[in-house]
């Protein structure tokens, strides 16, 4: 093989890595069919392998690939029509449509990526399908990689994706960025999916490892992409929140994989670059005055990040932010976190009274962190028996090995103190 040919083929491969998701997103819009678009994408790259070494690399590879993909798709439909007469009309109408569609320009291609995200996170798709669809179609992860990250079988993930695509096609889920009137609600769902991916990587819901860094990294990448495409305050807020949480990763676990609480973390291990970026983003989001729950949570994380040691934490400000969060997005979990912050500001007894109230309502009876928070405050006010009961209850509910080990250690310390 000559050097030129080899270099060209390397360029095709490079283009595949950088452009294939863009090209796919546009082909889905043009062809109204995920599977056909994926087939066309492969055909377009096969054509590039054949033609680029001979004809040279086109001036705009992305446009070339989109146009090649579109013609290849018409070929596919025409070929199928030879065996299935009902497709004949479709092929014809596609040819007409493709003749009429004006040339793509950069802006609409970026819109296509956003369309793809909104479609993968469409609320009509089951929640357990939205995450794998987004990871596969937007982030370019393989089915097998997604299954590994979620500790499940590839067949299970594959089926969810197949069903989601069938539903998009059969239920005619539109491939669009929602109009301004519905944008906020739909964006909320997109952000929820991104944060779900992040959390699965940051505090994996089960298994022996506390965190799965690769998923958090994907979520941050998605957040950056989203911010580039749609710079809304809550997009800023979510990216800030993820960066500020991620900045503590190295300090969150001991070398043996044990959990280290925020107040005991070695803050010199925190990632300063991520903190600086996170704080800048929070400030931008706050100054918009249109922020929501993600921005407020990011602001809370920023207050922690600004304290050089745990003793210097501005708990009054944190309680104030939780008050704002309770108005913006009230939930028992937010209430619990507020109670813990009050306990830090006003003393453990004040926090304990609030937590007892929440638990008495029964809202968080099966939430292990509510019981471990109660246990911690009981211990601090000297109610050792009560602390023991709550640690035991938390242990019975905790799913993750490092968390279980942490609770077992606390229980052992308690028994030691009481004997």
């Amino acid at each position: 093989m000559s050097d030129v040919v080899e270099q060209t083929l390397a360029r095709v491969e490079e283009t595949y890595r950088s452009e294939s998701r863009h090209v796919l997103a546009t082909l889905i819009r043009l062809l109204h069919d995920f599977d056909l678009a994926e087939e066309a994408l492969h055909e377009a790259f096969a054509a590039a392998v054949e033609q680029w070494p001979r004809d040279g690399i086109p001036a705009n590879p992305r446009t070339w690939l989109v146009s090649a993909g579109r013609f290849k798709a018409i070929d596919v439909i025409r070929r199928r029509a030879r065996y299935d007469a009902s497709l004949g009309e479709l092929a014809k109408s596609m040819e007409i449509a493709s003749a009429e569609t004006p040339e793509e320009h950069h802006e609409s291609v970026e819109d296509d990526r956003l369309r793809l995200i909104f479609t993968c996170c469409h609320p009509a798709l089951p929640p357990e399908a939205q995450v794998p669809m987004t990871l596969r179609e937007v982030c370019n992860l393989t089915t097998e990689e997604i299954a590994r990250a979620f500790l499940t079988k590839p067949g299970t993930i594959a089926q969810r994706i197949v069903r989601a695509k069938a539903k998009i096609r059969d239920a005619r889920i539109p491939y669009e960025v929602p109009p301004p009137s519905g944008l906020q609600a739909r964006l909320d769902n997109v952000l929820r999916v991104v944060y779900l991916v992040f959390n699965e990587g940051y505090s994996a819901s089960s298994g022996t490892l506390l965190t799965r860094a690769d998923l958090s990294g994907e979520a941050i990448r998605l957040g950056r992409l989203l911010l580039e495409l749609l710079p809304e305050p809550e997009v800023l807020g979510l990216l800030a929140l993820m960066l500020l949480q991620e900045s503590r990763r190295a300090a969150r676990t001991s070398p043996d994989g044990d959990l280290i609480l925020l107040e005991q973390q070695d803050r010199s291990l925190w990632n300063r670059a991520q903190i600086t970026e996170g704080i800048t983003l929070v400030e931008r989001a706050l100054s918009s005055r249109r922020f929501g729950p993600y921005t407020i949570q990011a602001a809370i994380a920023a207050v922690h990040a600004e304290a050089l040691d745990a003793g210097k934490t501005d708990w009054a400000q944190i309680v104030g932010l939780y008050d704002v969060l309770m108005r913006a997005d009230p939930s028992p979990v937010v209430e619990l976190n507020r109670a813990v912050a009050v306990g830090m500001r006003d003393g453990p007894l004040a926090g304990l009274i609030l937590i007892e109230n929440i638990l008495q309502r029964g809202d968080l009876d099966n939430y292990h962190l509510a019981h471990s928070a109660r246990a911690e405050l009981c211990r601090r006010v000297g109610k050792m028996e009560d602390a023991k009961v709550s640690y035991k209850r938390a242990l019975a509910l905790a799913q993750q090995e490092p968390e279980r080990r942490f609770l077992e250690r606390r229980l052992a310390e308690l028994s030691h103190m009481m004997s």
Partner: protein, 119 residues
Amino acid sequence: MKYICLVYVEEKVLNALPKTERKLLSDESMAYCDRLQKMGQLLAASPLHPVETATTVRNRDGKASTTDGPFAETKEQLGGFLMIDVRDLNDAIRIASNFPAARIGSIEVRPMKELGCAD
């Protein structure tokens, strides 16, 4: 990732098809395989002779035995296979679902182990 797609069809159903239709099915399958090959996604593919040509072989304690026919009676029989090399399972499923025989039979998609026999 490499996958094998095992194509199962009911031979009775296949035999009941008019000759022209069977020819069409076969032409379409060949064209499909040609395209996969061009895209570098096909490693090997072949239709198989009918199940009555099959022989099942076993070796137990050094004694080989052969029996006529397939291992078990089933409604659908293995009629052919495709060995493909694609990005992931969903790509393999897409390719299998567009294979013509998927319309009359069923295709089992199995990932191939990359490193030897043991896990």
